[in-house]
Symmetry: C2
Subunit: 328 residues, 2 copies
C-alpha cells in the first residue's frame, strides 16, 4: 500500500461539517465521584453514546459521505474487529451503498449482530492464521468495491479527530484548561486525530495513548522511535484494541505529537468498567475503558490537574458485562 | 401541611440560572435503533447522567441553594427512597449544610452507600408500618432543620422542570417538533415540572406520565379526577416510583396539563433496561426505565411521530442489573 499523508487541522474542521446532524455531538461529562477519586477534574468524552456505539462512525461517515456516486454499485469493504465494522455499515447504509465486512471469527456476537443489523454482509476469518487485509483486497478487487480502512487514511483520521476538536472546545466553554488528554489506541487513528485537534486548539495539553497490557505496541513504538509489533494477536478482553502494530501514517503523527503511552491491566480495565457503571451510568466496553482505567490507576498525575478521557466505545455483550459487574 | 402553590414558568427559568454550572446539562440522545424500533423519532433525555445519577439533584439544589445562611447549623432533612436522598445530600454538601436522610430500610444498598458518600447521616424506617413524614418532621423540629420535600414544593417542581425546559429547547434546536413527551411519575414533581415547561415552550406537545403496573396512582387519579392511592406500598422492582399517591400540589398541575398516564409491566421495564444497555449504552435503573418501557411497548402511537422520553435515573445495584441483563 502507498503511505498516506496525514490530515491537516482543516480536514478535521471539514469533517465536523460533514458529521453535523449525522453523528452525535457527545457531551463532555464531569462526575463528582470521578473528580474526588483522582483529586482533580476529569472531563469524560463518552463515545459509547455515539451512533453505532463507538467513535468509529465519525471516520467512516467522513470518508464514505465523500465517495463518488460511481462507486455505489461496488459498495464498500472493510476489515474490522467490530466497531469499525458497525461504523462503516451504518455509514454505507446512510449513503445507500452495499457494505461487506471482513471480521475475525472471534468477534463478540453483539458486534456481529449489530453489523448485520445495519444491513452489511459479513465474511469471517481466523485472526491467528489469515490476513484480513488480503481477504478484503481480494474481495474489493472482485467487486469493484472501495476499501474503507480502519485507520490508515487521512479522512478516517480527520473524522476521528472531531472527537478531540469537540472535547477541546467543550473544555474551553467550561473554562477548563486540560493538562492532559488520554485516548485508547489500537491502530492509532483516534489518537492521531485527537492529537492533531489538540495541537491546534489546545497546544499546551499533553496527549497520551492508552493500551491494554501485552498490547502496548504504541507505547513501545514511541519509546523505540519506530513501529514495533505486539507479540500476541489475541487474548485480551479488549477486543477492540488488538491491531498488531501502529499504522504507518498514524504513527508518523503520534510519534510527533504524543507525550507517551499508558498501559492498564485487565483487572484495571474491569474496575474502570465497574466505575463507569456505578458512577458515570455509562456502558463501556473493555477496549473503551482503557484510558479511564489508566487514569484511575494513577498512570499520570491527576491531583489538582484537569484531564480529558475519551471513552471510545460501549459495544459489550451482556454476559461479559454481567461478569465484570460481579467481579468474576 | 399547608397546600403549596404551584410554580410559574418564570420559576423554572430562575431554577435554570441557579443550576447552571452545578447540574449537568444532559444531552438529548437520539438512537437509530430506537427510532427504527418505534418507527418514529425519539429524543431521550438521560438524567441518569445527571449529578448523583438522577434528576433529583436539580430540585434539591434549586431549593437548598436558596436557603438562608441562618439555616446552616440545623441543616436539612429529607425522606426519600433513594434518589432524592442523594440529590439532597449532594446539594447540602455543596452548600456546606449538614443533611439527614430518612430512608426506607429496603432501599437498594447503592443508594444508601452513595447517600453516605455525600456526607449525609441516614435514619432508616419500615416502609410498611412507619410514616416517613412524621419521622422527618420530628427530627426537623428537634434539630431546627429545614425539610426538603421530595415533590410538594414549588422550588422542587421548578428545579425538576428544567429537565423539560432543556428538552423542549434541545428538540427545537434540532428542528424537531415533539408530538408527545413521556415522564416517569412517583410523587409527580418531575412530571409537573416538565408539563409546566412544555405548556410554555411547546404547548402542542402532549405530556404523559408513566408508572409501573400496580403503582399507577397517577393514571387512576387522572381518570378519577381526584387523588387515589396505590394499594401496595412496596413490591415493585421500580423502587424509585413507590410514592403512595400523587402530591396535592403536583396533582393540581398534572390534572390540568397531562394528556394521560401510561403503565409498563415489570417485564417491559426489564426489557427497556436491556434495550438501554444494548442500544443506548446507558445504565438505567428500573424506575428510570418506565417511560422508555411504555414507549417500547407501544402504549402511545409512535409511527411517524416525534416523542421525548425522560430517563430519570441510573442508580441500580450491579447484582440486579446483571440479573436483568441475563433476563432472569
Amino acid at each position: 500500500m502507498t503511505v498516506m499523508t496525514a490530515p491537516a487541522f482543516s480536514d478535521i474542521l471539514a469533517a465536523r461539517s460533514r458529521l453535523k446532524g449525522e453523528a452525535v455531538l457527545t457531551p463532555a461529562i464531569e462526575s463528582e465521584a470521578l473528580n474526588e477519586r483522582v483529586g482533580g477534574r476529569v472531563l469524560v468524552k463518552p463515545e459509547c453514546l455515539q451512533r453505532t456505539g463507538s467513535f468509529k462512525f465519525r471516520g467512516a461517515w467522513n470518508l464514505i459521505s465523500q465517495l463518488d456516486e460511481r462507486w455505489r454499485q461496488g459498495g464498500v469493504v472493510a476489515f474490522s474487529s467490530g466497531n469499525h465494522a458497525q461504523g462503516v455499515a451504518a455509514a454505507a447504509r446512510l449513503r445507500g451503498f452495499p457494505a461487506l465486512i471482513v471480521m475475525p471469527a472471534d468477534t463478540p456476537s453483539i458486534k456481529q449482530q449489530n453489523t448485520r443489523g445495519y444491513g452489511a454482509e459479513i465474511v469471517t476469518y481466523d485472526r491467528a492464521t489469515q490476513s484480513r487485509e488480503e481477504i478484503a483486497q481480494q474481495i474489493a478487487a472482485e467487486r469493484g468495491a472501495t476499501i474503507v480502512p480502519p485507520f490508515e487514511h487521512p479522512e478516517i483520521v480527520a473524522g476521528q479527530g472531531t472527537v478531540g476538536l469537540e472535547l477541546a472546545e467543550q473544555a474551553e466553554d467550561r473554562g477548563v484548561k486540560l493538562d492532559a488528554v488520554v485516548v485508547n489506541a489500537s491502530g492509532g487513528g483516534l489518537t492521531a486525530g485527537v492529537a492533531l485537534a489538540f495541537a491546534e486548539r489546545s497546544p499546551g495539553t499533553e496527549v497520551y495513548c492508552a493500551e491494554p497490557e501485552g498490547f502496548d505496541d504504541h507505547r513501545r513504538s514511541l519509546a523505540a522511535g519506530r513501529r514495533v509489533r505486539n507479540e500476541a494477536a489475541a487474548g485480551s478482553i479488549c477486543d477492540a484494541l488488538l491491531s498488531p502494530e501502529p499504522g504507518e501514517m498514524t504513527f508518523s503523527v503520534n510519534r510527533r505529537l504524543l507525550k507517551g503511552g499508558l498501559v492498564a491491566s485487565e483487572d484495571e480495565v474491569r474496575a474502570a468498567m465497574r466505575f463507569a457503571f456505578e458512577k458515570l451510568k455509562l456502558v463501556v466496553e473493555p477496549g473503551g475503558a482503557v484510558a479511564l482505567a489508566a487514569v484511575l490507576a494513577g498512570r499520570i498525575p491527576t491531583r489538582g490537574r484537569a484531564i480529558g478521557v475519551v471513552v471510545s466505545g460501549g459495544n459489550v455483550d451482556g454476559r461479559l458485562f454481567a461478569q465484570v459487574l460481579a467481579g468474576t
